[in-house]
Symmetry: C3
Subunit: 157 residues, 3 copies
C-alpha cells in the first residue's frame, strides 16, 4: 500500500486535526482494527460545512455540496487515522463506514452523499478503500454539520 504517495499525487494535504468536541478520543486501536470517531466536514480554512441536505426539500445544502462535504469528512478521517498509526501505508483495508447525513425531510439519496468519502478512500487505498457501509439520514448532527462519518480500518502491526 502506497497510500502516502497517492495522497501526494492527489495533492491532498492533511490538515491539523481539531480537538474532540467532548469526552472522547479521535481513534482507538484494538488488535489490528482502528475505530475512528464520527468525523465531520472541516473546511480547510476553518469551520465546518453545516445545514440540512436537500435543496429540493427545503434544506440549504445541495447534493453536490454534501458530496464534497463527505469528501472533506474523509480527509478528517484520514487525518485522525494518520495521527493514530503514523503512516497511512499501514492500512490493510477500510472495513466499515457508517455515514450519517443531516437530511432535510424527504431527502433520501444518502448513498450519493457518502460516496464522496468512499471515492476519496478508493483513490487513496485502491479497492482496499471500498468498504462495507451504511448511509442513513439522521435527525440532527453535532453543531448542525451536514454529514458525519465513522470508520473501522484494519492495519498491519
Amino acid at each position: 500500500m502506497d497510500a502516502e504517495a497517492r495522497l501526494v499525487e492527489l495533492g491532498i494535504e492533511l490538515p491539523e486535526d481539531s480537538p474532540p468536541a467532548g469526552l472522547y478520543v479521535p481513534a482507538v486501536t484494538s488488535g489490528d482494527l482502528v475505530y475512528l470517531s464520527g468525523s465531520g466536514p472541516a473546511r480547510p480554512g476553518g469551520g465546518y460545512v453545516t445545514g440540512k441536505v436537500g435543496t429540493d426539500q427545503g434544506g440549504t445544502v445541495s447534493l453536490a455540496e454534501a458530496r464534497r462535504a463527505a469528501r472533506l469528512t474523509g480527509v478528517q478521517l484520514l487525518t485522525r487515522l494518520r495521527g493514530e498509526i503514523g503512516s497511512l501505508d499501514r492500512v490493510v483495508r477500510v472495513v466499515k463506514l457508517l455515514g450519517m447525513v443531516n437530511t432535510a425531510p424527504g431527502f433520501t439519496n444518502t448513498p450519493a452523499v457518502i460516496d464522496g468519502c468512499s471515492e476519496l478512500f478508493i483513490e487513496v487505498f485502491g479497492e482496499a478503500g471500498r468498504a462495507a457501509r451504511s448511509a442513513i439520514g439522521v435527525a440532527e448532527l453535532p453543531f448542525d454539520i451536514c454529514v458525519e462519518i465513522e470508520a473501522i480500518v484494519q492495519i498491519r502491526p
Copy 2:
C-alpha cells in the same frame, strides 16, 4: 451449525443480491468477523418495501408490514453473507445488529420491527442468531426503504 439445512426446511430461497447502490461492497471480512453493509427489504419479485413506518402516526407502513420487511431485510443479509463466505454453515454467531427504522414522527416501537429480522436469524442459526442489538428510528433511509439493518457475524475459518 446446520444453517443451510434449516434454510431448506424453512422453505427460504436466497435470491440474487442486488448490486450495491454506491461505492461500497456488500461485505468485508476481517479476521473471523464479517461486516455486512446496511441492507434493505428487497421484495422477492423486485423492488423494495418503502415508506414511513407507523400508520397511527401518519405513515404508510404498518407495524406488521414493517416487521415482515425486517424479515426480508434479514434474507438480504443472509444472501450477502453467503455470497461472502460460501456457506451459512460457517456461521459461529451473529454478534451485532444495528436496526434502523424509517419512522413516522411518534412511532417508537422500533424493537418490534427489528424482531422480524432477529426471529429469522434465530430460526436459521438457533440461539447463535440472537445478537446484541440496537433498534432506532432514523429520519430518512436510502430511496425511502422502510427499514435498514447492518450486521457483524463471527465465522469459522
Copy 3:
C-alpha cells in the same frame, strides 16, 4: 484496572438489569471484544427517562437532564457488561460508543449529552474509559427514551 473498587468509592450500585425488549441479548463477546446492546436511561426506582431533548426547541428534556440520563445509560451499560464478564476489573479499554439522542428538531448539542456517559466511564476506568465515539440525533428511540448508547469494550481473558 480497579474498576470495581472505583464503583464503590463513587457510591454507584449497579441495579438488576431489565430484560431485553425484544429478540436480542444484552451483550455478545467475540474474541476479546464485548458488544453491548443499545441501552437506555433506566431510573433507579424503575422506568426510563423519556421525551425529546432540547427545551429551547420544544422538547421536554433539558440538556442537563439529558446528560444525567446519559449517565444513567452508562450505569445500565456497566450492569450489562458486568453481567457478561463477571467483574469490571477485566476491562482493558472502552473502545467505541455510539450515542443516540432523541432530539427535538433543532437541538444539535448531542456531544454534551453523551458526555454524561463518557464522564462516568472515565471516572470508573480512568483514561481507558475515554473511547472513540459518535454522538448523533435520531428521529425516534424505543418507547421514547431520551437517549440510547451502544458500546464495544475490550477485555482481558
